[in-house]
């Protein structure tokens, strides 16, 4: 089937099998920052933004993204500069192995769009669909708080 999507800001048309998962479609384009961690919508490593909303791309078919705008970690940078959430994850040591990081940052970036000054509980709730096996989340929470602060002050 033919689909038209806006992928990290660029319009593209592709032929896909109806059963192809969105995550496989994305990774097949060479954008391998979107990861697969569990296959059951539990871990969030495959999180991308679909029209700005975090979605688990292992549980969507590529055809369901037809006509939509997809943002992956590769699309976070703006005008060549890191997105604040990327800078804050590094600054606050919000990542270790890096495997959950793209999904975690996209979920966090969407939260800050909606709620620029979230409480710790609001952050923890927002990222509770994204599993991290390394950090214990403390520094991820700090990274999101730091990014929120920087964005509010900018």
């Amino acid at each position: 089937m033919q689909i038209n999507i806006t992928f990290n800001g660029t319009a593209q048309t592709s032929d896909v099998e109806p059963r192809q998962l969105l995550v496989d479609y994305i990774r097949g384009t060479g954008a391998t920052g979107t990861h697969i961690g569990c296959d059951t919508t539990s871990c969030g490593a495959c999180t991308v933004l679909v029209d700005g909303t975090p979605m688990k791309s292992c549980t969507m078919f590529a055809v369901q993204a037809n006509g939509k705008s997809i943002t992956t970690v590769e699309g976070l940078k703006q005008n060549g500069d890191l997105h604040q959430i990327q800078a804050s994850f590094k600054e606050k040591h919000g990542l270790q192995c890096g495997f959950c990081t793209p999904g975690m940052m996209l979920t966090s970036a969407a939260l800050l769009e909606e709620n620029p000054d979230p409480s710790e509980d609001e952050i923890r709730w927002a990222i509770s669909g994204n599993i991290c096996r390394c950090t214990g989340y403390i520094n991820i929470v700090k990274a999101v708080q730091h990014a929120g602060e920087q964005l509010r002050n900018s």
Partner: protein
Amino acid sequence: MTTTSHPKTPPEIGGIGHSIRRHEDARFIQGAGNYVDDIELKGMLHMAILRSPVAHAKILSIDTSEAEAMDGVVAVVTGELMAQHNLAWMPTLSGDTQAVLATDKVRFQGQEVAAVIATDSYIARDAVSMIFVDYEELPVITDPRQAMAEGAVVIRDDKEDQTDNLVYDWESGDKDLTDRAFAEADKVVSIETHYPRSHPSPLETCGAVADVDPITGQVTVYMTSQAPHAHRTVFALVTGLPEQNIRIISPDIGGGFGNKVPVYPGYVIATAASLLIGKPVKWVESRTENLISTGFARDYHMKGELALNSEGRILGLRSEIWSDQGAFFSDAQPTKFKAGLFHIVTGSYDYPAAHVIAHGAYTNKAPGGVAYRCSFRVTEASYLIERLVQNAAYEIGMDPAEFRSLNFIKPEQFPYHSPTGFVYDSGDYEAAMRKALGIAKYEELREEQKAAREEGRLIGLGLASFTEVVGAGGSDEYDILGLKMFDSAELRIHPTGKAILKLGVRSQGQGHETTFAQIVAEELGIPVGDIKVVEGDTDNTPYGLGTYASRSTPVAGAATAVISRMLREKARKIAAHLMEASPDDLEWEPGKFSVAGSPDKFVTIQDVAFAAYTNMPPDTEYGLEGVHYYDPPNMTYPFGTYVVVVEVDPETGVWNVDRMVAVDDCGVRINPMIVEGQIQGGLTEGFAAAAMQWITFDEDGNCIGSNFMDYLVPTAWETPRFELDETVTPSPHHPIGAKGVGESATVGSPAAYVNAVIDALAHLGVRNIDMPLLPDRVWSAIQDAKKG
């Protein structure tokens, strides 16, 4: 407690003690990490594995014809085909054998039965469902004691000399001395508990891309490997291929935690398939495959007893273990120690007598027994002794903190010879505990607990004052399949003063690219940003045993410091030549040599590096490069005290962590930010073990816990908040005084959480609840206690 005065280098050099932001992060935050599944090679095929749906059965027939006929299917591989190439079985890292693809029987649910190689991963998985296998089911064993019962079916009948299900009997310590201690005891306190089967489940599952060049015979395998060099040697032994033609590349690894230490059948099948077909083959397992077939951890049925005198001094410890090894003995642990380093079970306490017996048994469960974020069964050991100590305190009528204090090994007793043969390097257990109790305001909490009890509220305070043994290890005692557990560092300082450091270990998120550069920066004064760290490619790094069991800093970190110092000595000679002075007259400060007494007459390490390639003294070898293989003189012994405060709901058994205070002493901290990150992760793992995370099996051997909906790993929502602090007692034998920290919190914290819940219920007479402390278990314990 000793303190050190790091950092000694200025921030622009960034040596030990600086919280340098991680070098590796730049690629991870931009989605540019390079994990195994990200590797795409020209003409690459995809592999999927058919796994056994049953736990124990004879294979009567395998029909692959329909699968083979499907469009896009290139080959179907069975055990029979593998056997033709002598690859149906492989050695495990514990010296057992493991089926690569089953030929005769399947021995656990999820065992590898056949594999499909296809042009596309969807087709490979489709074709797997078109392979038809006839099984004749056999009796299933899911418990190690059941496995050793009379008349139990022999699971490993493939092994000629195997007449029962025993894997090993192993013991440590002095039985007679221990029996005497128990005979003299005023009181004996005992506990029997199960440390349940769990799974490291790194977020990236295991996988490989095998690329065999049919013309040159070069075999390149990109693999999720925590130990690429050891794996290369195993590959050479298994396949008979020349080792110089085998290159294992362990690219970015999405977490390991011990899960990526063993060699898995999938790696071998993918490599064989690439060899036979002449094209690259990718295999990446699903989460379910990861959970049901790759290295699990724990599954230890433990009995422990402490002999006590009337004053509360511990006189001796006795312990007996039944270890469930699954269908193949594929622990990855030092050959000499069948129960890993479980004999550290004597803990942080001073007493002369201990005796440990361990039995390992085969069952119809997945093989493994890997060290999940711990140094070979240290977690189980720490859990048992810390649970026993709390129960002993109740028995004697002392506060658990005071009981610990009374029995701690004292600072002046180090190096301390433990009754099971360890030589603890350094420690100040009392100081770490007092610090943790102070932060928690322990005395006040005890008062609050008392008051709460009067209102019918259940508050509990749990402690764990753990000691780990990590950094395996010296060649006199530690090897895996005969490979001694040294590790290596190769340092090359380039003419422009920049450096590349190559290591035999492999980071899986620990931040080696930053911390190991900091060690070089400390020793040579080269700015940390000028040092590149390379790991994980066997063609381009010196031989080493890999990253697990908290051994990278104790062993490869030491190798890094030593080679840096060796090059510094060579640099001194070059500097003397440049300044026309005697080497003995030069003074070193980070980054430069100066002539004693004339600090303005100096050369920098960069000047020296340039001279090493352009202007050497006549009798000196050119270059400023070297490699060192470090054979540790002893293990290191990190320790600490964790204090947990919980409140248990008496109506539901639900418990919440109100506070978790963690004081860790891992010796010198190279990068405090990274150390804290490691501890926070480990405390979360410990909480998971205590609260929710386990893998069970039904009586037919069906795995319960085969996905993240049944096998619960904590999210940000459940994970408690932690309060961290430190004491610093350097290791006296490690070149920079560091001890390793990646696993302390996983090792030490489960007992602290469980002790807290038990403490909340102790006045009712509750002394044990097996992990995980699910609400129904806690509720039942309360009800049973009330019934008396």
